[in-house]
């Protein structure tokens, strides 16, 4: 069966510090991978998606970037965090445009 992992679960970082969130998927090949951000009590904002290794599409201009170094690994990064980067970050995968499967999320607080 397929599983998706995200880490860390929670993170508290100072403004201006770097960020690296990792997502890995097991049990499937060539998944479409997604990063979303969710502000408290709000809907999901699509940040990045990837349909293959090295193929990244960015949806929202910001100081975040994403990379897909391996087929089932998706990384969200920032060189310098802003206060506005705080939120709940969710990774998800799909094999078509049907069901998306979400990871447990990372709660990021930037102080």
């Amino acid at each position: 069966s397929q599983t998706i992992h995200q880490w860390p679960a929670t993170l508290v970082q100072p403004v201006g510090s770097p960020l690296s969130l990792e997502c890995t998927v097991e049990g499937t090949s060539n998944p479409n991978l997604y990063w979303y951000r969710q502000a408290a009590g709000r809907g999901l904002q699509l940040l990045f998606y990837s349909v293959g290794i090295g193929q990244i599409s960015s949806e929202v201009p910001q100081n975040l970037s994403a990379s897909r170094p391996q087929d089932r690994q998706f990384i969200l990064s920032s060189k310098k965090l802003l206060l506005s980067d705080s939120g709940f970050y969710l990774c998800a995968w799909s094999v078509s445009t049907d069901t998306q499967y979400f990871g447990p999320g990372t709660r990021l607080t930037v102080l």
Partner: protein
Amino acid sequence: SQQGEEDPQALSIQEGENATMNCSYKTSINNLQWYRQNSGRGLVHLILIRSNEREKHSGRLRVTLDTSKKSSSLLITASRAADTASYFCATVPQTYKYIFGTGTRLKVLA
């Protein structure tokens, strides 16, 4: 703006009652999906309805789709306290891009 907008934003009902939430979208779709999110957790897929379907059932869930009105509804029958969560609709207006609505926060009182 969001492709999907849920209505109402919040809903509070007694256990055993039915809960209905609605979703409106703006562009043509291949399918519409509903997800549930428990507080502080990832989203869980509930049900998918394709554009050529009008109604679909899964257990206590009933989803309808009206493509002429660009709207969908999710009905949860005989609600339980465990149904307390946020519910989101999602559409895919462009290949690979999922657009989620703003969500309905459902609270089921025991």
